[in-house]
């Protein structure tokens, strides 16, 4: 009897075979463990909690609105978020409320709070998102998309925003830049304790794209406090005042009238004399998210009378 080539019974050969299998298994195990975490795409999150308006707006723009189960107290856009459970403010989100919503992913706004660590202790996946300048708006969108398991959609959204912003920038490129002051805070009912936008804020970047130059571009503070004297001396061509926003359309309209009346008395300010003070109640101006395109379009219209679709 002659034994075929596929049938091996010699003990030495069997040992060699087992050793080879063990080595292959070990190599595969080591390869899996050593694989960089970043190269793995997380599973698509099914229940997401957002702790800031910019994160919420980004999630909805990415098409993940149906998976958002909790938002911050300040979230008002898109309108459907008003009905969602509230988990506190972006400065102080409540870990217990978040945990009760049983999310598999929580986006936390960067800031002086320990909620990300608290959520980690509770076994919840938390991702910290930092938004300040325009580049960080883009990196935040990409991060939110990647963490949610849809990285390509993040790239697409960023590309689409860039295209729109480029279009606006090109439309105003040949016009001389207008000097702009953007006010984001002041004492209610007065023109005192004015807080404006410094050079490192995303609003300053948007104003530049829309054909403006921030009059506070040399100040080393993100949101400096400025006096009326400084505003007169800086002589902005245009003032965008989002310092007094209302909580409802009726309240916003009333505040807008008050703001306009306050500014009308400041005849030493160039923008007032040229009727170029814009009192605004649209919260898109204070939310660094996908609606920055709308903000840039509005600014381009104010600065240069240019309408960009």
């Amino acid at each position: 009897m002659h034994e075929g080539p596929g049938v091996v019974h010699h003990p030495c050969v069997r040992r060699v075979g087992r050793a080879c299998c063990t080595v292959i298994a070990l190599v595969a195990l080591v390869f899996c463990v050593a694989l960089p975490v970043g190269s793995q795409t997380p599973a698509v999150a099914a229940r997401i909690v957002s702790t800031s308006p910019s994160i919420t707006e980004t999630l909805f723009a990415l098409g993940l609105g149906g998976r958002v189960v909790g938002v911050s107290t300040f979230c008002r856009f898109p309108p459907e978020v008003v009905r969602l459970p509230k988990v506190g403010t972006f400065l102080k989100p409540d870990a217990e409320t978040i945990a009760s919503l049983k999310p598999d992913l929580v986006f936390v706004s960067a800031g002086p709070n320990a909620v990300a660590a608290q959520l980690g202790v509770l076994g919840l996946r938390a991702s910290v998102v930092d938004v300040s300048s325009l580049p960080t708006v883009f990196s935040a969108i990409r991060r939110i998309a990647t963490e949610s398991g849809i990285p390509r959609r993040g790239d697409e959204l960023v590309a689409s925003i860039r295209v729109d912003l480029d279009r606006i920038e090109r439309a105003v490129a040949r016009r001389p830049p207008r000097k702009v002051l953007i006010i984001v805070g002041r004492r209610t009912g007065t023109l005192t304790d004015i807080v404006a936008v410094g050079p490192t804020s995303y609003l300053s970047d948007i104003a530049t794209i829309a054909g403006g130059t921030n009059v506070l571009s040399t100040v080393a503070v993100e949101y400096p406090r400025v006096s009326m004297e400084s505003i007169i001396a800086l002589a902005p061509d245009v003032i965008v005042d989002v310092g007094e926003m209302g909580e409802s359309p009726a309240d916003s309209a009333r505040r807008q009238q008050t703001t306009e009346r306050l500014w009308k008395a400041q005849t030493l300010v160039k923008a007032v004399r040229e009727n170029a003070v814009h009192a605004i109640n649209d919260d898109a101006f204070v939310v660094p998210g996908p609606r920055i395109v709308d903000v840039a379009r509005t600014m381009a219209a104010w600065f240069h009378g240019v309408t960009v679709r």
Partner: protein
């Protein structure tokens, strides 16, 4: 034998006259300093914007700083004598925190304007008035007021108001939350002339009510029984002092927000020089407190121009180390 009263009168004249002179000098000089470079020829010929910048914006801000600093320092030295507590400040008896709560509620409820005044100012005054009534009611028994019960009631109401501020802040919307945070930092700014004149009248009335009783505050600072034995109507004095000090602190907080440190550091620095004579300390505290706050405001406006640093931060940065240096110099080696 007659040397001591003569020395006392001379000291009163020198210190009060000197600090009053500084106060007036600050009102004249400080408006000439600011974040923008002025064309002096244009200013001399009353041309705009230089003329309005100096006479309207800078002058009103400087005067507000002078009277606000003066009111806080005077209220601080009054409460320190009245309560015989060297750590007392204009904020100890709760009225200022009540003013803050009123302002915060006005911001949270979107109260922009009320009777021609900004809603925050009106809200602050109402808040101060309500707290004043509560503290007086809690501290008085059979129509009499004791300093210990006034202090305890003030501290209790202070804590409640501070907690309510946190509550309102936590429940308010995004823009309101930002406005509340900014208001709680405090600071000076130019205000309209009518409001400024009304404020000065109130502060002068409050200061007069305090200063005319300076001798009695001196006696009360030693002890209530000791003062009563020398003819001081202690209970009436406590009520008068509380009302006057509250008016000084609350109207100031209504316009500037809470500015700390002036009310503590100025009376202490003066006490280290003037050995606890309120007849000299109180008027000097008013004048020098004003000079300190208005000067610190100028520094805050100029250092990072056109950005500003709140005056309260500068007063703390300047006054704190100076106070520590004074304490170390006086302590036995």
């Amino acid at each position: 034998m007659t040397r001591e009263p003569v020395d006392g009168a001379r000291r009163l004249l020198v210190w009060c006259g000197g600090s009053c002179l500084l106060f007036v000098l600050a009102a004249v000089v400080l408006p000439l300093v600011g974040p923008t470079t002025l064309d002096w020829a244009r200013l001399w010929h009353h041309q705009e914007p230089e003329w309005s910048i100096v006479t309207h914006l800078r002058f009103s801000r400087t005067v507000l700083g002078l009277f606000a600093g003066g009111a806080l320092a005077l209220a601080g030295s009054l409460f320190q004598s009245m309560l015989r507590d060297r750590l007392a400040t204009p904020y100890t008896l709760g009225v200022s925190t009540g003013a803050s709560l009123g302002a915060v509620l006005a911001i949270a409820s979107n109260w922009s304007m009320a009777g021609g005044l900004a809603g925050v100012w009106t809200g602050a005054l109402i808040g101060a008035g309500v707290v004043l009534a509560i503290v007086m009611g809690a501290a008085s028994s059979d129509g009499l007021v004791w300093s210990s019960s006034l202090l305890l009631a003030g501290i209790a109401v202070n804590s409640v108001c501070a907690a309510l501020i946190l509550l309102v802040h936590g429940l308010s919307g995004m823009s309101q939350s930002f406005a509340i945070s900014r208001w709680l930092i405090g600071g000076l700014d130019a205000i309209d002339r009518t409001t400024l004149i009304m404020y000065i009248v109130v502060i002068l009335a409050g200061a007069y009510a305090v200063l005319r009783r300076a001798r009695q505050w001196n006696l009360l600072a030693v002890g209530e029984d000791w003062a009563a034995a020398r003819g001081v109507a202690v209970r009436r004095m406590l009520v008068e002092g509380y009302l006057a000090g509250s008016v000084l602190a609350a109207t100031t907080v209504a316009l500037t927000g809470p500015i700390g440190f002036v009310g503590l550091v100025v009376p202490h620095l003066l006490r280290s020089r003037l050995r606890g004579d309120d007849r000299v300390i109180m008027p000097c505290a008013f004048f020098l407190g004003g000079v300190l706050l208005a000067s610190c405001d100028v520094v805050g406006r100029v250092v990072m121009a056109p950005a500003e640093i709140p005056a309260g931060a500068i007063t703390a940065i300047v006054g704190g180390p100076h106070l520590i240096w004074m304490i170390r110099r006086r302590s036995p080696r």
